[in-house]
């Protein structure tokens, strides 16, 4: 990571960066590898936020236990995001309602945003990264 830290220090202006994640965990690797990008990205000290839409919400479901599948349970890592200064976690309300989920279902504190609110936020970004 040392070279990445150096690169970070060189950087000048801070950019607004949104991570958009829309896939469920475990069925495919996208959710896990998106989280790995967010953790590494934290070292660059940009103005980041993370949006969970569609099946991406399921990444944050409490009570995941992967023992019987033999896979690695990576859901506790979302709790570590705060330590990496990734504090703006947004869940799309429409996606949450469609799945019958509520804020109590999530392993971390999130802000629920309507798609209209996310529209405005997205327009305000310098970069949107999709997984």
């Amino acid at each position: 990571m040392a070279d990445e830290m150096d690169e970070m220090m060189e950087g000048g202006e801070i950019k607004k960066l949104m991570y958009m994640t829309r896939t469920a965990p475990y069925g495919t690797v996208y959710a896990l590898e998106a989280l790995e990008v967010v953790l590494i990205g934290a070292a660059f000290e940009q103005d980041v936020c993370m949006v969970f839409a569609d099946d991406g919400l399921f990444q944050l479901k409490k009570g995941q236990n992967t023992e019987a599948t033999g896979m690695k349970n990576f859901s506790p890592t979302y709790r570590a995001l705060e330590m990496y200064d990734v504090e703006k976690l947004y869940v799309e309300k429409e996606s949450m309602d469609a799945r019958g989920m509520t804020e109590d279902d999530f392993i971390v504190d999130v802000e629920v945003k309507t798609s209209d609110e996310l529209t405005s936020m997205m327009e305000d970004m310098d970069i949107v990264l999709n997984f």
Binding site: G27, T28, V29, T69, G70, M71, K72
Partner: protein
């Protein structure tokens, strides 16, 4: 009962290989026979020995190799799909003028006919994929 299995997706990328592995393990424990596991599409990527997964995660490829050794499983990687994607054994590497091969222990490369034959010879065929 005689089962044959097709795996259509690569390791880690999709749960297909995990589910297939768990199914095969459970079937063997129940005394069923696994006629063949056929790796097609990106499933051929399960047959590389160059994978080094994180230490706190399962090793999908090694797990297949060990299961094959323990139970004499026939793990077949489709040659056409493997050529596209860069999975080769020593023979394939030589034939295609490559300077290296990457097939994992317990896997063999063969033709698509092996899939059809497996379907015909088995009582049940299941596909795991995307």
């Amino acid at each position: 009962m005689k089962f044959s299995i097709a795996v259509h997706e690569g390791p880690y990328t999709h749960e297909a290989s995990d589910t297939a592995y768990q199914f095969v393990t459970a079937a063997l424990e129940k005394g069923h026979e696994i006629f063949r596991v056929f790796f097609y599409h990106d499933g051929v990527n399960n047959g590389t020995r160059l994978s080094t997964p994180p230490q706190d995660d399962r090793n999908v490829i090694k797990r297949w190799s060990e299961l094959a050794e323990k139970h004499g499983l026939d793990l077949v990687v489709c040659v056409a799909a493997a050529q596209r994607r860069g999975i080769a054994d020593a023979d394939e590497a030589k034939r295609n003028g490559k300077d290296a091969d990457n097939i994992a222990p317990g896997f063999r490369i063969s033709g698509l006919g092996q899939l059809i034959e497996a379907c015909i010879q088995s009582d049940r065929h299941l596909t795991f994929g995307d």
